[in-house]
C-alpha cells in the first residue's frame, strides 16, 4: 500500500484511464468523459433521479476542473442524450413509491452500417460493456459508443459478451406522421378531460414566446399573466422531474396531464418535446435546424439543433450521422453524409415541423 501525491491534471488522467478512455485523446471534462462518468454513476446509483447522477458527477470532477468547463447544465444535457439513445431508460418506479426514475438500459447494440455498431446500455457496478474478447476497440464519439468489427463475426462476438441486438426497425420506431395543429389539438382535448389540478409545487413551464434558439432560457415559473396550455415539468421527491401538460389560468394551474400518455416505456420528454415542436410550429416560430458545410471537406454536412428532440428523432440522427463538437449556440451537432441528408431533413421537417436554415441564411 502506498500514497502518491497528485496534481489535478494527474488525477484527471488517472480518472480518464479508469473510465476506459484513452487519456491522450480525451480529458476528464470532454463530453465523452462526462458521459462515461454519468454511466458509471448510474451503474452504482440506479434506480435514481437525474439530479443524483448529475450531482455525483459534478462532485467527482469539479475539483479538478480548474478552467470551469463543466457546468450543471452541461452534465444534465449529456444525461438527456444518454436517455434519448437508450444507455439509460426512464421508467415508472417499480416499487410502491410511484413516479419515474432512471434505470440502466439493457446492454444492446444496433447496426449503424455493416460492420459498424452502436453500443447501448450500462452494466451494473461499474462493469465495462464489452471486453477485449470482441476483438475491437470501442470508439467514443460525444455521447455515443461505437464498435467497428468484421460483420461476419460481429453478431456472434457481441452475443458472446451478453449484448442483445436491437433491430434497426425497432430502434427507429417513431410516432405516425401528423400535422402540428392536430398534435396541439390532441393536447387541448386531453387537458379538457383532465381533473382540477390544484396548486402544483415547483411547476415550471416552457414559454412559447421565447426564442427557439436557446432552449434553457425558455423555462420559467408561471407568471400572473399566463393563460393557456403549456408543456411543463414538476418535481417529485425521488426521481426525475415529471413532464406534464398544464392548463394555466392567470398564472394558476387548473388542469394537468402527466406524460408519457402514449407509451409508459418512453421517457415523458419524448412526448413533451414533440408537442413543444408542434406548439412552436403552430405559433409560426418553428424550431430550427441549421445546415452547414463540414470543415473536413469530405462532402458531408454538419447539422445543428438548438433544442432537444425526442428520443426517436435522436436515434435517427445516431444512425444517419455522427455526433461532433457542438457549434456555438447549438445544443447538439451531427455530421451527416451527403447521401443521407435529404431524407434526414425531410424527416425533421415532417415529424417535428422544423424550419431548415442553410449556413449564412438570414434568421
Amino acid at each position: 500500500m502506498s500514497i502518491t501525491p497528485l496534481s489535478g491534471r494527474e488525477a484527471a488522467e488517472r480518472a480518464v484511464h479508469a473510465l476506459g478512455l484513452g487519456e491522450t485523446t480525451t480529458d476528464l471534462f470532454s463530453t465523452e468523459a462526462i458521459c462515461a462518468s454519468l454511466r458509471r454513476a448510474a451503474s452504482f446509483l440506479c434506480p435514481a433521479a437525474p439530479r443524483q447522477l448529475v450531482e455525483a458527477v459534478l462532485e467527482a470532477v469539479t475539483t479538478l476542473d480548474e478552467s470551469s468547463m463543466v457546468s450543471r447544465d452541461l452534465v444534465a444535457e449529456q444525461l438527456d442524450l444518454l436517455v434519448s439513445i437508450g444507455d439509460l431508460v426512464e421508467l415508472p418506479h417499480q416499487g410502491k413509491r410511484g413516479g419515474r426514475q432512471l434505470y440502466l438500459g439493457p446492454p444492446s447494440y444496433v447496426e449503424k452500417a455493416p460492420g459498424q455498431y452502436l453500443l447501448l446500455g450500462v452494466r451494473p457496478n461499474g462493469a465495462s460493456l464489452v471486453d477485449e474478447s470482441v476483438g475491437a476497440k470501442m470508439h467514443y464519439e460525444s455521447h455515443a459508443r461505437l464498435l467497428e468489427i468484421d460483420m461476419e463475426v460481429a453478431a456472434a462476438r457481441l452475443r458472446a459478451v451478453g449484448l442483445h441486438e436491437i433491430h434497426r426497425s425497432h430502434w427507429l420506431k417513431h410516432p405516425r406522421l401528423e400535422s402540428a395543429p392536430a398534435v396541439v389539438d390532441v393536447m387541448h382535448q386531453r387537458l379538457d378531460r383532465a381533473a382540477e389540478s390544484g396548486h402544483i409545487a415547483g411547476l415550471k413551464i416552457i414559454d412559447p414566446e421565447t426564442s427557439v434558439r436557446y432552449y434553457r432560457a425558455r423555462w420559467r415559473l408561471p407568471a400572473e399573466g399566463d393563460s393557456g396550455d403549456f408543456v411543463a415539468r414538476r418535481p417529485q421527491a425521488y426521481g426525475a422531474d415529471l413532464w406534464c401538460l398544464v392548463r394555466v389560468k392567470n398564472g394558476v394551474p387548473s388542469a394537468l396531464v402527466d406524460l408519457p400518455v402514449d407509451d409508459p416505456a418512453a421517457p415523458g420528454c419524448d412526448e413533451a418535446w414533440r408537442l413543444q415542436a408542434a406548439i412552436d410550429a403552430v405559433a409560426g416560430r418553428p424550431q430550427l435546424l441549421r445546415l452547414r458545410s463540414d470543415a473536413e471537406g469530405d462532402g458531408s454536412r454538419v447539422l445543428d439543433l438548438f433544442g432537444p428532440v425526442p428520443g426517436w428523432a435522436q436515434r435517427y440522427l445516431e444512425l444517419a450521422g455522427a455526433p461532433v463538437s457542438r457549434a456555438r449556440g447549438a445544443l447538439i451537432s451531427y455530421r451527416v453524409p451527403m447521401s443521407a441528408i435529404v431524407e434526414l431533413l425531410a424527416f425533421f421537417a415532417d415529424m417535428l415541423w422544423m424550419r431548415i436554415r442553410q449556413e449564412g441564411e438570414a434568421a
Partner: protein
C-alpha cells in the same frame, strides 16, 4: 519420422526409444517385436516411473507439498501414440497378467480420457477410446475398473499422486481418480477462466504463493457457476494448484504443474476468444500483484485505544426516505456472499431460507431474497441487541456469522445527510458540516439539546424520534459542546472526499467505497494555511506529504488497498511547528467487484427473481421454486423457456407475452398451464437444464439457468410407440450393486426388485421407482395410464402395518418420505397417484396410533367412485377424546378451523394454544415444537424423517403414550381440509 529411425525402426516421430542407447534400443525393439504390447508398456512404464519420481521429489520440497497428476506425463505426441498402442494392445489381449506389472501407462491413459470427459458417463467414453474394454475374452469390466482404481491409489502412494476429495469422490469412487488426475477436464476450463477473471481483484502475492488459500478463496466465489464446476472446485487444494499454475508468469516454471501440461491447459483455454481474454486479464492482475508485492493488511485495521469501530464489508446501508409526510427508514440488503469464505453453508442457506429483518414487521422475506440486492422498508427502528438479519431455520453457525458481520451503527443517535433528489444517507462517522442539512434520529427516550436550528420531524418507525437539522454556516461553541455530548462532531476546517472517478458509494461525509483495482483518489481541503499533511492508513505509521504552496487543496492516491474497510486519518500540520492543527477521518471500503451472487441489479429495468434463489430444474418443474418478474407496471415483455440437453442443445422452447410485473402467483398459473404441456412436456425428462429469460427491447432483459443437477443416479422416462412409458436408469456410479425397487400405488410400501440395466416397463397404474447405490438414491413417480385410472376409479392403495411400535411408526415415516421426495415427471396423473400413496400412508400411520375407532373414521372418510366423502367433522371432534380436557381441546380446534384454512402458520400457532391444557400432562414442554411436529405427523409424516432423531423419538413416544395428541392434530388437519373443500365448492356454485 523418428530422428534415428534406422536404429529403433519405430515409425513414430519423437519416439522415446530414439533418445536411448542404440544397442539398448535394438534389443528392446527386438523384444517388442516378440512380445508386442508388453514391451511397449515396460519401456513406457520405466520412463514414466523415472519422470514421476523426479516430479514427486521436487513437489515434496515445496513449502506445502503439492501432488503429482498423471496428466503430467510429459510425453511427446509420438510417445503418447505409442502408449495408446500399448494400452490398446494389452486390452485387446484381455489384459494379461504380465502386463499388470507395467501399470503406469494405464493410469496415464485413464487420466487422458478424464481430460476429455464432458460430465456425462465416463466408462462409455473409456470403452470408445479403448476398443475391447467391454468385450475382450474372459473380461470382467467391474474387476478391471477396480484394478484401475488400485493403480491410481498406488500412483498416489509411490509418486505422491493427487487423491480425489469431496462429495464427488465419495459418490464416484473410481472415476473420481482419473478425472482428478486429468487436472481440469476440458469442458470445465471456460468456467475456470471466468472464475480467475472475476477474482482478479482479490489476488495478492500471498494467495498466489499459497495454493490452498487460493483454492479456498476461489471456491468460495463459485456460487453462480454450474453444479459440475462447483463439484470440481470442492477439491480446493486441486483448484488452488491449477489456478496458481495458470496464473504463473509467462517466463517462469510453475512448481505446481509441469510446463507441457500447463501449456496444454493454456492452449486449450485460449482456443475460445473469451476464455483467452479472461485468462490473459487474470494473469495480468496476478503479474501486477506479484510485481508490486501487494499484500493485504492481514491483521486488518489494528484496534487501538480510542479507535472507532470500523463498519464491516457486509454491513447494510441505512437510509431514510421522505414519504407519507415523514421519514421512513430503509435497509439496503447487503451482499453477504463474502461470508462464504468463512462458512461454507452460507451460500446454500442464503439461497434457500427466509430472512427476517429486525424492524421489518410482517412475514419473513421470501426465500433467497438476500441473494438479490434490494431495499427493505422498516416500520420499527432496529434494536441493537437483536441481530439485524437472521435466517429462519438457519444453522446457528451461519446466523451467528451474519449477526457478527451485519449490523447497523450503535446509537443512541443516527445521523443522515440529506441529498438533492435522493434519500438521506447515514453518516456513520456522525460528522456534521456547517451549511448542510441532516436528519438526526434517536431512541425515543433520548433528549436532544436545545439547538436553534433543529426541529422535530416525523419518523415512520416505532421506538425513535427524529429531528431535521439545518446547520448554520457558523456554529456556536456551546452547540458544538452539546453535540459532542451526544456523540456528534462538527467538522469545518478540513474536508476529505473522493475526486476524479465517481465512487461506488459516498455518504458525503466520511465513508466512501470503490471497487478493487480502481484508483482511490482523495482531495483534502483546508481552510487555514497548512505546511504538511500526515496521512495514516489503518493506524500504521503516518506518511507526511508536502502541501502544495498556495493551494487550498491537496490530492493524493492510495494504491493497493486490499478488499475490506480501511480507516484513513489525515492531520494538517502547522507551518514551522509541525504540530497537528486539525484532523479528519475517512472510512474507505474496497469492494470485490464480482462478489454479487446474481446479475439481477436493482438498477435494471426488468428483474427476474427465484424463490428459493438459483433453483434446480426439478424444483422449478415440481413447483418447489417460483419465479417472479419486476418491471414497469403496464408494460408487456416476452417470457421464454428453453429446455436444453446434455451438451446444451435446444430440445424445446415456449414463448409467451406476459404483463409486468409478473407475480409468483402468475408464475404458478403459468407453470401449471405451460410447463406440463406440448413440447416442454415431451422434452422435460431428457433435459439437463432450462433457461428462463424475459426481455423487452429497450427496457431490459434478465435470464436464469436452472440445471437438473449432477446426480450419480437419475431416472429418465420415455414414451414408447404404443403410448406407454418405460423408465431407464442413468447410473453414473462406479458400483455394480445398484438396486432398483418398484413400489406400486396399490401397495406403496412394498418394493419389488427390478434389474437396473435396460428399460423398465411401467405398470398401468403408475407407481414409484427407487434406485439405490451406496449412499446415493434416486426415485421417480411413474405416470399411470389415464384410461386405467378412469376405468378403475375405486382402486385405493393398501398399506399393511405391523403392530404398533416406535419402529413401525418410523417405517411408515420413511415410507412416506420415499414417495414424498421422489421426483415428479411432467405428468399430471403422476402427481395424482403420488398424492394417493402419500395420503394412504398418512392415514395408515394415524390409524395405527389413534386407535380402532379413529381408524374406522379414516376408512369412512375415503370417497368411493362417484360418492363424495361424508361430512365427518362432528364425529372427528367427538373422537378426539372423551375426558373433559380432551373435549375442550377438540372444541378449541373446532372453533378455529375456519381461521386456519389458508394459513399453516396460523394453524401452528392456534393448535399449540389448543393443546396447551393437556400438553404438560402428556410430557410436552415445548408447545410450539410439539405443535409443528404433531401437525406434520398428521399430514406429511415423511417431512419428519430429517427431524433430529432424539427429539423425534421423544415426541413419538409421547404420541404413542397419548394418542389423543395425534387425534387432535389429525382433526385440525382434516377439519381445515374439509372446510376448505366445502368453501371451494360453494364458491364454484356461486360462480355458476
Amino acid at each position: 519420422m523418428c530422428d534415428d529411425a534406422p536404429k529403433c525402426r519405430c515409425p513414430v516421430p519423437d519416439c522415446l526409444l530414439a533418445r536411448r542407447d542404440p544397442r539398448e534400443v535394438a534389443s528392446s525393439v527386438e523384444r517388442m517385436t516378440h512380445s508386442g504390447s508388453a514391451d511397449i508398456l515396460e519401456y513406457l512404464h520405466k520412463h514414466l516411473d523415472h519422470h514421476f519420481r523426479l516430479l514427486h521429489e521436487r513437489r515434496k520440497l515445496l513449502q506445502v507439498a503439492a501432488p503429482v497428476f498423471a496428466l503430467e506425463h510429459d510425453l511427446g505426441s509420438s510417445d503418447f501414440e505409442l502408449l495408446l498402442a500399448g494400452v490398446r494392445g494389452a486390452i485387446t489381449q484381455g489384459l494379461p497378467a504380465h502386463c499388470h506389472v507395467w501399470w503406469l501407462p494405464f493410469v496415464v491413459h485413464a487420466a487422458e480420457i478424464g481430460y476429455d470427459y464432458a460430465g456425462g458417463e465416463y466408462w462409455p467414453l473409456f470403452a470408445q477410446k479403448t476398443p475391447g474394454w467391454e468385450s475382450s475374452p474372459g473380461w470382467n469390466v467391474s474387476s478391471n475398473r477396480d484394478r484401475i482404481k488400485r493403480w491410481f491409489k498406488k500412483f498416489s502412494v509411490d509418486y505422491g499422486g493427487a487423491e480425489p476429495k469431496g462429495s464427488f469422490a465419495e459418490n464416484f469412487n473410481i472415476i473420481a481418480w482419473p478425472i482428478t488426475h486429468a487436472v481440469m477436464p476440458a469442458y470445465l476450463q471456460r468456467q475456470l477462466a471466468k472464475l480467475l477473471f472475476e477474482s482478479r481483484a482479490v489476488l495478492t502475492t500471498e494467495l498466489l504463493t499459497d495454493p490452498r488459500a487460493l483454492g479456498a478463496c476461489l471456491a468460495s466465489r463459485t456460487a453462480g457457476y454450474s453444479e459440475r464446476f462447483r463439484i470440481f472446485c470442492a477439491n480446493q487444494s486441486l483448484l488452488g494448484q491449477v489456478a496458481a499454475a495458470l496464473l504463473s508468469g509467462d517466463d517462469e516454471e510453475s512448481p505446481y504443474l509441469v510446463r507441457s501440461t500447463l501449456d496444454r491447459l493454456v492452449g486449450d483455454l485460449s482456443e475460445e476468444r473469451q476464455s483467452r481474454t479472461w485468462l490473459t486479464r487474470a494473469k495480468h492482475s496476478a503479474d501486477l500483484a506479484r510485481s508490486s508485492g501487494f499484500r493485504p493488511n492481514n491483521s486488518g485495521p489494528k484496534a487501538t485505544k480510542g479507535a472507532k469501530h470500523l463498519p464491516a464489508l457486509t454491513d447494510p446501508r441505512f437510509l431514510l426516505r421522505s414519504e407519507d409526510g415523514g421519514w421512513r427508514p430503509y435497509i439496503e440488503l447487503p451482499d453477504l456472499t463474502p461470508l462464504q469464505v468463512r462458512q461454507k453453508q452460507v451460500d446454500q442457506e442464503l439461497r434457500s431460507l427466509r430472512p427476517r429483518v429486525e424492524g421489518y414487521r410482517g412475514r419473513p422475506l421470501p426465500r433467497g431474497k438476500l441473494v438479490y440486492p434490494d431495499e427493505v422498508p422498516l416500520s420499527a427502528w432496529p434494536r441493537p441487541e437483536v441481530p439485524l438479519i437472521q435466517l429462519e431455520h438457519g444453522s446457528s453457525a451461519v446466523n451467528r456469522l451474519i449477526a457478527e458481520n451485519c449490523s447497523i451503527s450503535q446509537g443512541p443517535w443516527w445521523l443522515f445527510r440529506k441529498q438533492a433528489g435522493g434519500p438521506a444517507l447515514e453518516v456513520k462517522g456522525k460528522f456534521l458540516r456547517p451549511g448542510q442539512e441532516y436528519c438526526l434520529v434517536g431512541r425515543a427516550e433520548s433528549v436532544l439539546p436545545a439547538l436553534p436550528w433543529a426541529s422535530e420531524a416525523t419518523v415512520l418507525a416505532d421506538g425513535v424520534r427524529a429531528f431535521d437539522l439545518k446547520m448554520p454556516q457558523i456554529i456556536d461553541e456551546r452547540d458544538i459542546v452539546q453535540l459532542a455530548a451526544a456523540g456528534l462532531s462538527i467538522v469545518s476546517d478540513v474536508s476529505i472526499r473522493p475526486v476524479g472517478l465517481v465512487p461506488g458509494s459516498w455518504d458525503g461525509e466520511g465513508a466512501v467505497e470503490w471497487l478493487a483495482g480502481e484508483p482511490v483518489m482523495l482531495a483534502v481541503r483546508a481552510t487555514r494555511a497548512v505546511d504538511k499533511l500526515a496521512v495514516t492508513i489503518d493506524h500504521s505509521a503516518p506518511i507526511v506529504i508536502e502541501w502544495p504552496a498556495g493551494k487550498p487543496e491537496l490530492i493524493f492516491a492510495l494504491e493497493n488497498l486490499a478488499v475490506g474497510t480501511h480507516q484513513v486519518d489525515v492531520s494538517l500540520l502547522i507551518p514551522d511547528t509541525g504540530a497537528s492543527l486539525v484532523s479528519g477521518l475517512l472510512v474507505v471500503t474496497i469492494r470485490d467487484p464480482q462478489m454479487s451472487l446474481e446479475e439481477s441489479s436493482k438498477g435494471a429495468g426488468i428483474r427476474l427473481f427465484a424463490t428459493p434463489a438459483r433453483p434446480k430444474l426439478t424444483e422449478l418443474w415440481d413447483g418447489l421454486s417460483r419465479l417472479s418478474i419486476a418491471g414497469p407496471q403496464g408494460l408487456t415483455a416476452e417470457l421464454m423457456i428453453v429446455l436444453r440437453g446434455d451438451v446444451g442443445e435446444e430440445l424445446a422452447q415456449h414463448r409467451q407475452v406476459v404483463s409486468l410485473p409478473f407475480s409468483d402467483g402468475a408464475w404458478k398459473k403459468f407453470a401449471d398451464q405451460q410447463l406440463r404441456k406440448g413440447k416442454l412436456l415431451g422434452s422435460y425428462d431428457e433435459a439437463e437444464s432450462c433457461e428462463v429469460s424475459v426481455s423487452r427491447e429497450g427496457v431490459g432483459f434478465a435470464s436464469l439457468i436452472c440445471e437438473r443437477g449432477f446426480d450419480p443416479l437419475r431416472w429418465i422416462l420415455m414414451k414408447r410407440r404404443d403410448g406407454r412409458h418405460e423408465a431407464r436408469l442413468i447410473d453414473r456410479t462406479d458400483r455394480d450393486g445398484t438396486q432398483v425397487h418398484l413400489f406400486r400405488v396399490a401397495a406403496p410400501l412394498t418394493g419389488e426388485e427390478r434389474v437396473s440395466r435396460g428399460p423398465i416397463a411401467i405398470p398401468e397404474s403408475g407407481g414409484m421407482l427407487q434406485a439405490t447405490s451406496g449412499n446415493s438414491t434416486a426415485a421417480i413417480v411413474l405416470p399411470p395410464d389415464p384410461n386405467q385410472l378412469r376405468q378403475r376409479p375405486n382402486d385405493r392403495p393398501v398399506v399393511q402395518c405391523a403392530n404398533l411400535s416406535l419402529s413401525e411408526v418410523e417405517r411408515l415415516i420413511q415410507g412416506h418420505r420415499r414417495w414424498l421426495e421422489a421426483n415428479l415427471p411432467a405428468d399430471p396423473f403422476a402427481c395424482h397417484q403420488q398424492e394417493q400413496a402419500l395420503s394412504a400412508i398418512t392415514s395408515a400411520l394415524v390409524s395405527l396410533i389413534a386407535g380402532n375407532r379413529w381408524a374406522r373414521l379414516e376408512r369412512k372418510r375415503v370417497p368411493g367412485g362417484d360418492r363424495k366423502a361424508p361430512d365427518v367433522l362432528d364425529e372427528m371432534q367427538k373422537l378426539v377424546g372423551e375426558a373433559p380436557a380432551q373435549r375442550a381441546v377438540a372444541q378449541q380446534i373446532a372453533g378455529h378451523l375456519w381461521q386456519w384454512l389458508d394459513s399453516p402458520a396460523a394453524m401452528r400457532e392456534g393448535f399449540s394454544n389448543a393443546i396447551a391444557p393437556i400438553a404438560a400432562a402428556n410430557g410436552i414442554d415445548n408447545l410450539h415444537t410439539a405443535a409443528d411436529f404433531l401437525l406434520r405427523l398428521a399430514s406429511r409424516p415423511g417431512t419428519l424423517a430429517r427431524w433430529d432423531k432424539t427429539e423425534r423419538d421423544e415426541l413419538l413416544n409421547c404420541v404413542l403414550r397419548s394418542p389423543v395428541l395425534i387425534r387432535a392434530a389429525r382433526f385440525a388437519v382434516l377439519g381445515a381440509e374439509d372446510l376448505r373443500d366445502t368453501s371451494d365448492e360453494s364458491n364454484a356454485g356461486d360462480h355458476r
